[in-house]
């Protein structure tokens, strides 16, 4: 080790003397060739002390200016983003209303889209839930076109426990396979998203259950689909959604004594060092 330590400074001196010796050569060359590579010379050789004071001042000034500019840009970007988000939600709302309009049979000024191949299936499911569960169980129903025309339903939280076995067992649906469960924090509310699938005819659905953000709770479907067990535990752990009826609702990823639920948008770590 000591030998290595000894060697290092030697090498360093060699390197600097090398670059120093190369400098006069560069100076000897015409000025036009010197200008293209100022960065490398700055890195290799320390600038003369008289200039260093200047550059420091310049640097500080530049840094300050850059910071101010960045902050200004940030403010502008935030404004733009807010506007865009507003426009986006408005656009989405408009799209939704036009969807509903189409459903009702009235055609908007937008070019009439060909109805989704899954629209009849969605209508059937909505009718089925209204009949078997409750008249007002379906909050929203639409086709997610980007996602292979996946029929998507937003169901009322209080009716989910009754609707889930319907999806699992009803002969028309028979969604025996729950492929994914996700939790999303929308800042205004929490959402748990289920993707049940019928393995025999390959028909799948997306079901969303919304819940209050302060005391989020969605009835557990572990007794219906066993696979929901760890998925729900993960959502509980990372988002803090309670699942009444779950056989073993404990944290699964974070340590048992962890404070807070990290995937929530307002999460602040208890210990900033971690």
């Amino acid at each position: 080790m000591s030998e290595d330590n000894k060697r290092e400074p030697e090498e360093a001196t060699v390197a600097t003397s090398d670059s120093a010796s190369s400098e006069p050569v560069a100076d000897a060359k015409p000025a036009s060739e010197e200008t293209p590579a100022p960065a490398t010379t700055e890195e290799a050789t320390p600038p003369p002390p008289a200039r260093r004071v200047e550059t420091d001042e310049e640097k500080a000034a530049r840094r300050k200016a850059a910071l101010e500019a960045r902050e200004a840009a940030k403010a502008v970007a935030a404004q733009a983003a807010a506007k865009a988000a507003q426009a986006g939600t408005e656009g989405r709302a408009a799209a939704k209303s036009s969807d509903e309009g189409e459903k009702a049979g009235t055609e908007e000024e937008a070019p009439p889209k060909p109805p989704s191949p899954n629209q009849p299936r969605l209508d059937r499911v909505v009718a089925l839930i209204r009949e078997m569960v409750a008249e007002d169980a379906v909050d929203e129903a639409y086709i997610n076109e980007a996602n292979d025309h996946l029929p998507t339903l937003v169901l009322k939280n209080e009716h989910w426990l009754k609707a889930a076995p319907l999806f699992r067992n009803h002969e028309q649906l028979n969604c025996n396979y729950l492929r994914n469960v996700s939790g999303v924090d929308y800042e205004t509310h929490m959402e748990v998203v289920y993707y049940p699938l019928n393995l025999n005819n390959r028909e799948g659905y997306c079901i969303k259950i919304r819940t209050d953000r302060e005391q989020p709770a969605v009835p557990s479907v572990t007794p219906i689909w066993e696979t929901a067990n760890w998925n729900e535990r993960e959502i509980y752990d990372l988002l803090g959604v309670e699942f009444p009826g779950h056989p073993d609702l404990r944290r699964i990823m974070m340590p048992d004594d962890w404070v807070g639920h990290p995937l929530r948008k307002d999460y602040v770590p208890l210990d900033p060092e971690v």
Partner: protein, 366 residues
Amino acid sequence: MIRTEELLLNVGPQHPSTHGVFRIVVKLDGEVITEATPVMGYLHRGTEKLAENLNFTQIIPYTDRMDYVSAMTNNYVLCHAVEKMMGLEIPERAEFMRLIVMEMQRVASHLVWWGTYLLDIGALSPFLYAFSDRERILGLFNELCGARLTYNYMRVGGVKWDAPEGWIAKVKTLVKDMYNRLDEYHNLVSGNEIFLSRIKGIGKYDAQTAIDYGLSGANLRCTGVQWDLRKAEPYSLYDRFEFDVPVGKNGDCFDRYEVRMAEITQSLRILEQALEQFPGEGETMGKVPRVIRPPAGEIYVRIESPRGEIGCHIVSNGKAEPYRLKFRRPSFVNLQILPKLLVGESMTNLVTILGGIDIVLGEVDC
């Protein structure tokens, strides 16, 4: 007078047969397991949380580190999801490159499983065979993208690097050699009396249980359920190639072994056809906007990884970063059945059953 007592045994987190940092607390009555409680999270890095502050191109390297034995399929599921949201067209050559590396990855991943599984059970030499062949595949990946495990190879819209000269020919030779090597593997292991007595009839479950537990991949197919997303819900170019979906019958460890071994053959078949049809020239990157901003909306995209259905659920609010990104990790979901399988088994079978499920802890904990 013999006094018996319940024994609480901790297996892992630092135990080679848990394939990573996985811990299982086992209650034993003599040699028989009466209760098993998996404990995980030791490798939890909060990928989903980190992703909320990164743009999509920056997330791709994080997916490499989830299922680090099969990083190419992870790359693909994220890129594919974003492309689908944005409605991007992928050049044919790029899609071919992706399919070829994914199938090579599947072979490599199954080889790792094969080698380590036999190592768990007590056979050392297959591990050396498997890893030498896998090394050839990793070497080819290294030539392609400069990394052996964490490739960061795919991009939204295509792939980062085109195949270097002579690379396709090298893959062709590899595929040819692999057929012979597979025969050798079968000669070496598949009929071995000791091996069979260790895995036949162990860790058995039926199709209904597998579906209830949401199992996917070989864990589901070993019960006879013909469910392979490459066939059932084709993505990429899989509908252009001929291949079979191997299924088992009994749903025990032996069937899982057979299904995975047959899957290697099928992957080689796909590779053969893909290499034959590989377009001589073309773009490897589609027309992609400079900043990738998927439109506001939601998507769930799933593909068949070597371990089963890997899914990517993106909620976008139109920004360059995802509002919420959730990965459906097959290892995590498949592992759920473990406590059920272990109850009533002898302690020796713990490693056999756990190995048979084929988990990667980077993916379980995410």
